[in-house]
Subunit: 241 residues, 2 copies
Amino acid sequence: MEQPKLAVSTVIFSLLPSETTGRMALHLPLVRRIREPHRGRWALPGGPLAPDEDLPDAARRHLHDTTALSPTYLEQLYAFGAPARGGEERVVSIVYWALVSQESASGRPAGADPAALSSAAAALVSGDPNVCWFDADDLPPLAFDHRTIVDYALWRLRTKIEYSRIAHAFVGDTFTLTQLREVHEAVLGRALDPANFRRMIEASDSVIPTGEHLLGTKHRPPKLYRYNSAVDLADTNPLRG
Amino acid sequence: MEQPKLAVSTVIFSLLPSETTGRMALHLPLVRRIREPHRGRWALPGGPLAPDEDLPDAARRHLHDTTALSPTYLEQLYAFGAPARGGEERVVSIVYWALVSQESASGRPAGADPAALSSAAAALVSGDPNVCWFDADDLPPLAFDHRTIVDYALWRLRTKIEYSRIAHAFVGDTFTLTQLREVHEAVLGRALDPANFRRMIEASDSVIPTGEHLLGTKHRPPKLYRYNSAVDLADTNPLRG
């Protein structure tokens, strides 16, 4: 019996300033296909599994090849294996989703000034003309079933930010509540009421004040917080340890 | 580059009376391996993907070959692909988990009398001497990494029953609150306080009274309920429709 080919692909999310509004927005890198089928279309980074390579290591390798970054969060999304996924050859794709942060590219936390974010955006772009970052809510037509995959990854991320520590991947170890809200707003793609957000976060016990304040020029510098690792959130899972 | 083999396996759960207590308990069917490696050990039902067969169809086929049943619930669990999973040949397993109900085997709902359950248990056992149902909390040593897989599936099922409609797979279209509680108790493997359970279920709006009562010999026959499909529970997922 002929075996289907196995591939590992990764949906990589980062927060970058929107080209139209300048506000932080979810972006993902896509790779332009240089071969048939779907030549010229944009596709998720991915490829075969190397011998002796574990699945998440393959996801990390493709992520690094595409962005020169390491993920701040990596999780298996789903295996896609419908017989008619678009090519002549049958491929079963085990898909991961990952978060990468500007901090790992630029040394600056999310919520920093726009100039720093633009240089972070530049740092996220590899020299490869066939790799480009797109606004997650304004994607070009994608190859194969990759649009379905991206939509599912977006659903997983947007569901998960509501009940888990996942925003942590986009902020530094310490952050202001405004920085945290801006991350939630960028991921969800909509504005949140600052007072409601503060109440919701404070009620959840998920973050605790560090006792320090953001250094800067403001008259009343905002308090810094960190995630409360003592709270058992729903993102604990026996396979993630 | 040599491709790893691809397999689809399924963790199949059903509720059957415990051999020791007679109470309903989670059971799963295992298949005794008749070839090396791990010859003689018990393993999850599974095997290769047929050409043109979709992943969930392969999971359903292995389930039917093992139990002669169709699942009342089927969901992709995870892809396991670590290089050293136990055999000489590298196999990546895409694992599903499924629920099957006594009803589909015997025409009787869960919570029926023990005699009916025993005949249901008999109906769940295929004629194959290399297939056997085991209590999920009293498993023999398993082949490969199948114990890790079963533990993860148990965790998923026990987490999910708290926030989703998944108990539905083990009860009929209508059920009493006692029948529903017995399903939760069997899945969780512990007794629940009847009054607390009733309050929790009533507060969740997840079930509604049908206005009918369980037919039987009791002086005060208990009310029948059905799931409230108008409530948006957390088990809705874009890939499940």
